[in-house]
Symmetry: C2
Subunit: 339 residues, 2 copies
Amino acid sequence: MKPKATLKQIAKDLGISVSTVSKALSDSHEISDPTKLRVQEYAKLQNYKPNTMAKNLKNQRTNTIGVIIPNILNPFFAKVFSGIEQAANKKGYNVITYISNESFLKEKQAMDLLSNGTVDGFILSVAEETQKLHEFSHFKEILREGLPIVMFDRIMEDVLCDKVVVDDFESSVEAVNHLIQSGCSKIALLSCIDNLSVGKHRALGYERALQDHEITIRSNYVIKTDSEKDFDSRLKKLLSTGEIDGILAVDEHASTMAMKLAIQLGIKIPEELCIIGFADGVWSRRLTPSLSTISQHGPEIGHEAARLLIDKLENKQEIPTYKTTVIKTELRQRESTRK
Amino acid sequence: MKPKATLKQIAKDLGISVSTVSKALSDSHEISDPTKLRVQEYAKLQNYKPNTMAKNLKNQRTNTIGVIIPNILNPFFAKVFSGIEQAANKKGYNVITYISNESFLKEKQAMDLLSNGTVDGFILSVAEETQKLHEFSHFKEILREGLPIVMFDRIMEDVLCDKVVVDDFESSVEAVNHLIQSGCSKIALLSCIDNLSVGKHRALGYERALQDHEITIRSNYVIKTDSEKDFDSRLKKLLSTGEIDGILAVDEHASTMAMKLAIQLGIKIPEELCIIGFADGVWSRRLTPSLSTISQHGPEIGHEAARLLIDKLENKQEIPTYKTTVIKTELRQRESTRK
DNA sequence: GTGAAAGCGCTAACAT
DNA sequence: ATGTTAGCGCTTTCAC
């Protein structure tokens, strides 16, 4: 473990000055070809790598993005994350990740910790607790310090920044339309995420689609809650009635339980009951029958979020403008729906 | 967006020297209480946060860990990752993540990029391609530069560093024992990861358990491959014979397909066929019937890996010693096996 | 074409 | 108790 190669060391070894070495390595025209060559070869020999911290300190930027994600075990977030990571790397950025675990405090702490010159900006999806508390002072403070933020999926309307969302409302409308067209008329709405912005939008889409078809919304066909326990017992009761012939489930838990309970009750899917769920990840294909889903194109959301942030970082505007990109979802028809 | 507060700025505003400010903020005994108070209050007022890059440069350490993961969509890795992140944060470390996507090149590039003073050490699981190529020069080089590495799950025997693994061999033995005890005698082994170290160990465990019970290993009950397509057709053929009464599936794809095909063929699980799979994540519970699994305790693996790395970072030994921690797996009995 | 020097923001040994 | 200074490794302006 020899001492790390630095400009200083190389300069000393070669009997030239630090600045000459620096310029030679950055291929400056100020330096003669022979010197350049000599320096570059020696640097390679010594396995010289410029110290990132020093460069960052000098440049006042880190080429690092802070990513804050509510829960990496959720395949949707995992997909978005991998999209961010990929796009960021391609542009020469590192990614520092914090998992908020849906906690406001952790989210805030992460931002405090990283906003000290560790990252150039943030990409995040708002923690559940933060949305519940409707707390956004920490976002505003970061923005005031001049660090850009891009929010995705779970956004806060009140914060002025770039955003990437899915057309939750439209997606629900389309899904319910599809159910109706395939012959369903008694369609239930299942939601365990009624405290999240996305959950509410999806529920509104359901209502709109029914209205469009002049189907009365029956409140006993609607389960909206933020407690999974509460949800399970209510769903069991609802399915036992045998009245329902279609389901729109707006989150993973709801989708899963709908499938599982229906199978256990011996309800034939999709003959007697069609199910569409908001879901990402491979597990929906693994069920038997497989689950028809609304896919949110996680990787693309990640790409777009990274693109927006890096754009802001590299093209500082005098008067910043803010974009909201809407990514189209896709209805993936599998075995839990009829054609 | 006012100019960022720095020591220099505060010093100027307060008419004192930079070092006094620095010491006052770190609560040094050299500074008088009134001055301390004055500085600390003013710093808070100005929302002063010490610049991390400057501190890192000074300290020659970054309190940052580089994590390289083959695939974050795999719930096992997602769990380990969240374990690492949590443990690292608790100890005051940031986590920079790269996803190798099973590619040797990406893995190597990530390590090159981060080893320039960006991270203090690495936690990683070896990419599939790297294992196939049996390439480990990049690991050795990093170690030579003095950066510690902790490998988890997919390790390389030839690299001298700390490691965290699961008792793959023993887990398979136990799982097969369980199948035998519950009355299975024609047990198949399914593996789509026969190119990975872990896959091979699990296969060996299967063989040992059968030998222990003096059951002849029948090669037509064993599917070992690294191609999922090849796997699917062979599995279909095997299940169609109706000979098998037990299955050990050593990876997610194998577990999934075993369940799906068996259900489609109308085979009764667990009455006619018991299945145990190596699997993490919630999806195994979502199947109907739910899948009995060998769980690898991802979060604990992550905790331990972080613990080992940070320990090495904070207690530099003259002659380094290397540990390999084995995390016990757990057989989670669900509906795809009999008691 | 090469080198000296200042400075990024911070810490710490060393004055005063 | 407070201040001066040097230095972490690098870039960049300005002299020579």
